[in-house]
């Protein structure tokens, strides 16, 4: 950090001549460029199925003021949070068990990999007939989408905990429980969190798919209804909301991740 600051202060004069775009923040610029391109193409094309950004935003404002978005969003978020919480709890338990005990891995491994790679939506009809049209089915779909990637990451995270740390703990009298809680879980945390990040993104996908194809509630319902009316601006407006939900969820997980894994050296991460 200080090295970077020095670098800037001592070379302030030549830096002025360098292109100033180097110092601009990358993410907002990229977003602005995307928005401008969307608006421009939408205006030029003039096709109803690809409305410009301004039309979509106006539509979004309408939906927001009518209260439609808010109630649907709340509905969707409950589905997401329930499904993700179950995925997280079950995924961590199953993943730790598979990573630690060879027998469990042998017993569960096939199913986990099969269900990870299977298109999760094919189970929608089964959930529908088992759990009905309610929230249960959608939560089950969310779990199908999110849980397995968490299990697999947790299992390999546990397996790659350095043996010498476990041995050290045992030499100081740690039992199995303490080895798991005080050594393996913290050591595996960075890799587990990578799986959780993937899982939360998949949970959002599962939520929308569940809402569109099973119960037709929440944001998924608005998408389906708008799609039925060929209301492209409506579909895209909800899409913006869904993207915001996904980004928010990922940002939340990342914040937790940063807290848990502050000790990991950041040397491998680029900073340009």
């Amino acid at each position: 950090m200080s090295a970077l600051a020095d670098h800037h202060s001592t070379r302030a004069a030549p830096a002025r001549k360098r292109p100033s775009w180097r110092r601009l923040p990358a993410a907002p610029i990229s977003l602005a460029a995307g928005a401008a391109a969307w608006e421009l193409i939408g205006q030029l094309a003039g096709m109803s199925f690809f409305p410009p950004l301004s039309t979509v935003l106006a539509r979004l404002a309408d939906m927001a003021t009518s209260g439609l978005i808010v109630t649907s969003l709340a509905d969707s978020l409950v589905n997401l949070i329930l499904g993700f919480a179950i995925s997280l709890a079950a995924g961590l338990v199953a993943g730790v068990a598979m990573g630690r005990y060879r027998k469990v891995e042998a017993a569960l491994g096939v199913y986990v990999y099969a269900l990870l790679t299977a298109p999760s939506l094919v189970f929608a009809p089964i959930f529908f007939s088992l759990l009905g049209e309610g929230r249960g089915s959608i939560v089950a779909v969310v779990v199908m989408y999110a849980m397995f990637v968490i299990i697999i990451n947790t299992a390999s995270a546990i397996q790659s905990v350095p043996v010498h740390l476990v041995e050290m703990a045992r030499s100081y009298g740690a039992g199995e429980r303490q080895v798991l809680l005080r050594v393996m879980l913290p050591a595996a945390a960075p890799m587990i969190m990578a799986g959780v990040r993937l899982g939360v993104g998949r949970a959002v996908t599962g939520m929308i798919n569940g809402e569109m194809f099973i119960a037709v509630v929440g944001l998924g319902r608005i998408v389906t209804q708008a799609g039925g009316r060929f209301d492209s601006a409506g579909v895209l407006a909800v899409l913006l909301v869904i993207i915001a939900v996904a980004l928010g969820a990922v940002a939340l997980v990342q914040a937790v991740d940063r807290r848990i894994t502050r000790w990991v050296p950041r040397t491998t991460r680029g900073n340009q």
Binding site: L165, M168, R170, Y172, G173, V183, P186, A189, W263
Partner: protein, 275 residues
């Protein structure tokens, strides 16, 4: 082998007929230890020297109760070893510190595993941190420390248990020469003040002689004790290590150890290819 028992006091560690084989990945058996007999006296500083792969680490881990063995018997103060115990602490070559935990939590780790309450274990940890010269670093994490400082943490963690037996597996093998000398001197002065039984594994003849009351020489394939060499150098040794190293006795014992080790390496040199 039986004749060199440490006769002065009753042995604290008694090892009889110890044998240990590993089954390797291709199902072949590696005989890591065969018929090891060893007595270590109460408050003795024993160093173990031998070529790589002769079973030094294996011997230490069996005493620690970390790995099971096939034949023989290990007793600490007459009680058979069945697993790790609070009477034995281990110091590891690669430090084995928890990278996410602070120096304080690392030093207090063993106490925590043994159920010592927070206030007491932190107090004990702090005094040990002071003893190894790391006061002021309590809240740092291992990644922020040099190798020598990390091993001080490892040593403090072991000493915090107030063990009767300190088991050290090449503890200074991964630090630079200058740091190693400092750590050796510090270990000596700590041990001179707080006597305990130490089994110290090393690759270095100089280290073995500088620290040990006796040097156990091990040979490889199968791993066994080939000789036990007494080191009659005066104690305390920490006050003037330089003078000690120039003394005739020190030079003589080190040279003798190297002669014996060289013989072992010759025996096991791959037979010369024709030509």
């Amino acid at each position: 082998m039986g004749s060199d028992d440490y006769g002065k006091e009753r042995a604290l560690i008694e090892i009889r007929g110890l044998g240990k084989s590993f089954v390797g990945q291709d199902n072949e058996t590696v005989e890591a230890l065969r018929d090891v007999n060893l007595d270590v006296g109460e408050n003795e500083f024993l160093t173990v020297l031998g070529p790589s792969g002769c079973g030094k680490t294996t011997l230490l881990k069996t005493i620690a109760g970390l790995i099971p063995w096939n034949d023989g018997d290990i007793r600490i103060d007459g009680t058979p070893v069945r697993g790790p115990g609070p009477d034995r602490s281990m110091v590891f070559q690669n430090f084995a510190l928890l990278p996410w935990a602070t120096v304080l939590d690392n030093v207090a780790f063993g106490l925590r595993m043994r159920g010592v309450g927070r206030a007491e274990r932190e107090e004990r940890a702090r005094s040990l941190i002071a003893m190894v010269g790391l006061s002021g670093f309590e809240t740092k994490r291992p990644g922020e420390l040099s190798g020598g400082m990390q091993q001080r943490v490892g040593l403090a963690r072991a000493l915090a248990m107030r063990p009767r037996v300190l088991l050290m597996d090449e503890p200074f093998g991964a630090v630079d020469e200058q740091t190693r000398r400092l750590l050796q001197e510090e270990l000596l002065s700590i041990w001179e003040e707080h006597r305990m039984t130490v089994v110290f594994i090393t690759h270095s003849m100089e280290e073995a002689v500088l620290l040990g009351d006796r040097v156990v020489l091990m040979s490889a394939r199968p791993g066994r004790i080939s000789e036990i060499v007494p080191v009659p150098l005066e104690r305390p040794r920490s006050s003037d290590v330089g003078a000690l190293e120039r003394s005739g006795q020190y030079v003589e014992i080190t040279a003798y150890l190297w002669d014996r080790l060289r013989d072992m390496h010759e025996e096991h040199r791959p037979s010369k290819v024709a030509g």
